[in-house]
């Protein structure tokens, strides 16, 4: 039964895809009426103006572009023209750095806050105020104080991914069952050992949930941040193609961004499954 469900879901997915692509192709294939033009004038004009071709590309155009990018993803023709693979690598690198720093900060701090009800109460207002701030709002401040655009981008990733992890860690640590802590206390387990052998395994699933939320946000934000600071990265690529009004390349990068985001999310989902325990 389970096998057939999966099969049916797969078939439905494919059918939906086919319908979307077909609808898309039909929607963009019509040509608007155009006036007759002087050939000299027409030579200076784009296709949209001369043949009335829709400004939106069809799925075939996008497919061709994707193939074109996949064929040679790592070319490097100067600082402003690099292959999509290199751009992705830059973005992933930035996310990894910012996110890694956030992990290093959020989890220990979250532990301390979670283990102390006093700190938890005292720091709560700050966390609540800083958490809902859009990460990009930090950008001007970061550029102004850090005075380096790529470090600013990393800082923005850090600041946006730190909150969900921090809150989840606090929540997970504070939510460790009293019985387990009491057992540890009767066995006279020291505080460090208690943190690593009792609280960490108990809080791990919640912490991983926080990390999974954070990586999603980080990946959302890097594109916007790179569109702002430019230079390198997939966000810059989108901006550059937008500058060129090349909708095909923008759609291509949307697909690529979505794919990478999914892969990152799945990696953490895997990790989460590893630490989950049955109650």
């Amino acid at each position: 039964m389970k096998g057939t469900l999966r099969l049916r879901a797969g078939i439905l997915s494919l059918a939906l895809l086919a319908m979307i692509l077909l609808g898309w192709q039909v929607a963009v294939s019509g040509t608007a009426s155009t006036q007759a033009m002087d050939p000299e004038y027409a030579a200076l004009m784009g296709q949209a103006a001369t043949t009335g071709k829709s400004a939106m590309p069809g799925p075939l155009d996008v497919g061709a572009t994707i193939w074109h990018h996949l064929k040679d993803p790592f070319y490097d023709r100067g600082p402003n023209d690099k292959g999509i693979g290199i751009q992705l690598a830059y973005s992933i690198g930035r996310v990894a750095l910012g996110y890694g720093l956030a992990v290093l900060v959020a989890i220990p701090v979250g532990f301390l806050i979670g283990m102390s009800p006093l700190m938890s109460r005292a720091l709560d207002p700050y966390i609540q105020i800083l958490k809902p701030v859009s990460p990009l709002a930090w950008m001007p401040l970061a550029l102004y104080t850090i005075k380096d655009s790529s470090l600013s981008a990393i800082f923005v990733i850090f600041i946006c991914s730190v909150w969900p992890m921090l809150i989840n860690t606090v929540f997970g640590v504070a939510g460790t069952r009293k019985e387990w802590l009491n057992v540890a206390r009767t066995l006279e387990v020291g505080p460090v050992r208690r943190a690593f052998t009792v609280i960490l395994p108990a809080a791990a699933p919640t912490i991983l949930t926080g990390m999974r939320i954070s990586i999603g946000i980080a990946w959302l934000v890097i594109v916007a941040a790179e569109m702002l600071v430019g230079g390198t990265g997939i966000g810059y690529f989108v901006w550059n193609e937008w500058n060129n009004l090349s909708i095909t390349n923008v759609i291509t990068s949307i697909l690529v961004i979505g794919l990478v985001g999914m892969v990152l999310d799945q990696l953490l989902a895997r990790a989460q499954r590893l630490v989950t325990f049955p109650e």
Partner: protein, 453 residues
Amino acid sequence: MAPFDNPFDAKRRFRRGGCSCGAHESQAAHEAALPAGDAAIERAVEATMLRALFPHAPERRAFLRSVGAATAAAAVSQFLPTKFVAEAFAEAGKPEKTDLKVGFIPITCATPIIMAKPMGFYEKQGLNVDVVKTAGWAVVRDKTLNKEYDAAHMLAPMPLAITLGLGSNPVPFAVPAIENVNGQAICLANKHKDNRDPKNWKGFKLAIPFDYSNHNYLLRYYLAEHGIDPDTDVQLRSVPPPEMVANLRADNIDGFLAPDNVVQRAVYDGVGFIHILSKEIWDGHPCCSFSVAQDTIREMPNATAALLRAILQATAYASKTENRKEIAAAIAPANYLNQPVTVVEQVLTGTYADGLGSVKKDPKRVAFDPFPYESFAIWTLTQMKRWGQIKGDVDYAAVAQQVYRATDAAKLMKQDGLTPPEATTKTFVVMGKTFDPAKPAEYLDSFKIKRAS
């Protein structure tokens, strides 16, 4: 034409068919005969000085006629040793740093900065320059202030705004060279094809690239001359150039005054038409500048001088119309402008589709003239004050002199106990009204529509 023709020639005529000097059959032949490279720089410096000494053309001509060009040159160089300034340019010492970064915005105004890379002008100066495409004017400003860029392509009013601390902390900036003159246009959505009189534009939403841009000031000027108050009768929005075409297509804006290749791109994509070129508002207006922080010049005078020489030579090369096609092909690829070649070519050659069905020819659609006349800065300051960006008094001449500098030669000359040249100004005409840089306050007072009290 200004710094590259010969003011020592008493018989030089004002334009009357043929070329600007009258000695050649056509402008193209005239330009072909112009000196290139170092000779061009020397000529430019000499020309500037002679102009500074005799700002009034009739006086200069009378002087030249009576003593002869050679004597005049010798006389001028006696108390203003042109050779010295030219050498400060031409024989600068070893650059303090050869790996430089220059930021640019992908528009044709940046042509000299961009083309100097693929066409080897930087290399000739022994520099390894990375020209870095940047997402917007505010980012260019911040990255240059952060010293991530050693120099940058900025809108001509931006260094003034930065120096005065408008929209950022005050940091002294310098404009050692203007990038281009003209080369902008007012573009309107196709639906306004029959609504060409600005008097009927009340309620329009118009886009400009940045608050501190000559696009802003020219559009405001143009509207105000037609009785439209740019603050109350229309909505002016600051929109990054790539968004302009998309917004025009989506009907969010009625039009824009924008840098070129954006305007031409709107025409190319069939969403707008060219209402007027900016040269019809003010022929010879500056648009973008090559800007350096004054700190940077102090820290590495040789490197900035080398950079400047590369830019000046590239500008001289770009000022010749016969080179424009080659330049268009060099700067159109993804690494630089990332635009279809035909769009860039139409802008640079001045043979373009106007979006209304005809092909127009105007070789002066965009021109490249590096000389940063201080009067440009003074005009810009009057407009900043006119629209309330500058509050209170401003010392027009002092700010202009501080920011718009022919070269850092003036500074070098002072160090050697020499008198730097007088403020290099010229009068010009904006929409039929003459601007006298010596009387900015009177000029400002003469406007009916203004925010300044």
